[in-house]
């Protein structure tokens, strides 16, 4: 499988990247790790005429501590995130999530920014990004803005990113008590269901991926949470549950409740 022809430019600054995106518009695609984009291009589901490789932009692959936050550069690979002492100590739920993605080779290349921009409905990060109330930093030629996790995911492969915007970093609050529970699709290692839970004092925040066409905060679970795992029965309240050849909607809905229960325990 060979992609349609395209031009390739490797940029060394975010300004160069946003200028090119502005110039080429919809014909351009951003390349970071390429582990969602290149397979889609090989299947010709995506036929950009120019690829803008942002992997060499200085500073975009760093993980930093800033006050109460951990700032993860968009170009950080899953491997880098799961191996970072800073992430493991201050935001272990994210290290735990990254460690479940794909396989060794995929984790060595795939990036958090690429995964979020692609927004696969079965990707792992969205559940954790939602449960942590993370903020997504984006830049375009017109400047930078911050998008709240809850506003970011808008549908199947659809996000709040404008055509000319590039994710530069994700800002997470430090999390002491959180965990990610995943039921693997056994061949692809994507999540059939993935549940992230962050506990804070008496309350809980629950992010769910793989269940609906858009990852969501399970507000009904959060509201019903009483310290026990009983609230898990509300995992799919008001949710249009997906059905596919791996799991029909009835099975998936049941699985979501089981995984929420595990994550709350």
């Amino acid at each position: 499988m060979i992609p349609a022809k395209f031009d390739y430019i490797k940029v060394s600054s975010i300004n160069e990247a946003v200028d090119l995106v502005d110039k080429h518009g919809f014909d351009a695609k951003i390349l970071a790790g390429g582990h969602s984009l290149i397979p889609a291009m090989k299947l010709r589901l995506n036929t950009p005429s120019i690829l803008i490789d942002i992997s060499g932009i200085e500073g975009m692959n760093e993980i930093k501590e800033s006050g109460d936050e951990i700032i993860v550069g968009a170009n950080c690979t899953h491997k880098q995130i799961m191996s970072s002492d800073l992430v493991k100590n201050q935001l272990n739920i994210l290290a735990q999530t990254a460690a479940t993605i794909g396989d060794v080779q995929v984790r060595n290349r795939g990036t958090i920014g690429g995964s979020l921009a692609h927004s696969d409905p079965s990707a792992d990060y969205p559940a954790t990004v939602l449960a942590c109330d993370a903020k997504i930093e984006v830049t375009s030629k017109n400047g930078s803005r911050t998008i709240d996790a809850e506003d970011f995911f808008q549908g199947i492969f659809t996000t709040a990113l404008e055509d000319d915007e590039i994710i530069t970093a994700v800002r997470f609050p430090k999390v002491k008590d959180g965990n990610y529970q995943k039921f693997y699709q056994s061949a692809s290692r994507f999540a059939v269901v993935g549940v992230a839970v962050v506990k804070d004092g008496n309350g809980v925040k629950v992010g769910i991926t793989g269940v609906a066409d858009t990852p969501y905060r399970a507000k009904a679970v959060e509201k019903a949470y009483d310290g026990s795992t009983d609230a898990a029965t509300h995992a799919v309240d008001g949710v249009d549950v997906m059905s596919d050849h791996f799991a029909d909607s009835e099975y998936r809905a049941h699985l979501a409740k089981v995984m929420v229960k595990k994550a709350l325990a």
Partner: protein, 154 residues
């Protein structure tokens, strides 16, 4: 587009189309056919090589992305006639049957052992999630990697 890279210690420079995959570059331009293309969808791991020391699936990289990088393929593992300890262990433990997946298994094993010189059986199996053996010979592949770890640590 002009790319320059090091493969198995040797410097190469070629004009390539941006859409040329790294796997095809290795096989068809450099004639290093030890890197296999199985699924061509980054699932099976037969095309695994190391790029700046990390195992990656070369079917899901463009050759242009490897510009300036250092690559090792299965052909770069042995030292002349002397097999790499991982290769030696695969030979001694019947770690290959048809052999199609073997180059990828060996390259992934090198990544596993680089990051974790004393892996448990479970850690090896976890590390091989991205490599399929259609002969289902996993048991001896895991044994081979366990023995390779011992050899390397000696």
């Amino acid at each position: 587009m002009r790319i320059s890279l090091t493969v198995n210690g040797k410097q190469y420079s070629h004009d390539v189309e941006p859409r040329l995959s790294l796997a095809h570059y290795l096989r068809e331009v450099l004639n290093l056919t030890g890197t296999h293309i199985g699924c061509d969808t980054s699932s099976c791991g037969a095309c695994t090589i190391t790029l700046n020391g990390d195992a990656v699936k070369s079917c899901t990289l463009l050759a242009v992305q490897a510009d300036g990088c250092e690559i090792v393929t299965i052909e770069g593992m042995a030292n002349g006639a002397e097999l790499h300890p991982i290769q030696e262990s695969f030979k001694e433990n019947h770690g290959l049957q048809c052999g199609f997946c073997t180059p990828g298994m060996v390259m992934t094993a090198s990544d596993i052992l680089k990051n974790n010189p004393n892996p448990t059986e479970e850690e090896i199996r976890h590390g091989l999630e991205g490599n399929f053996c259609r002969c289902t010979g996993y048991h001896n592949i895991v044994k081979s990697i366990q023995q390779a770890a011992e050899k390397i640590n000696q």
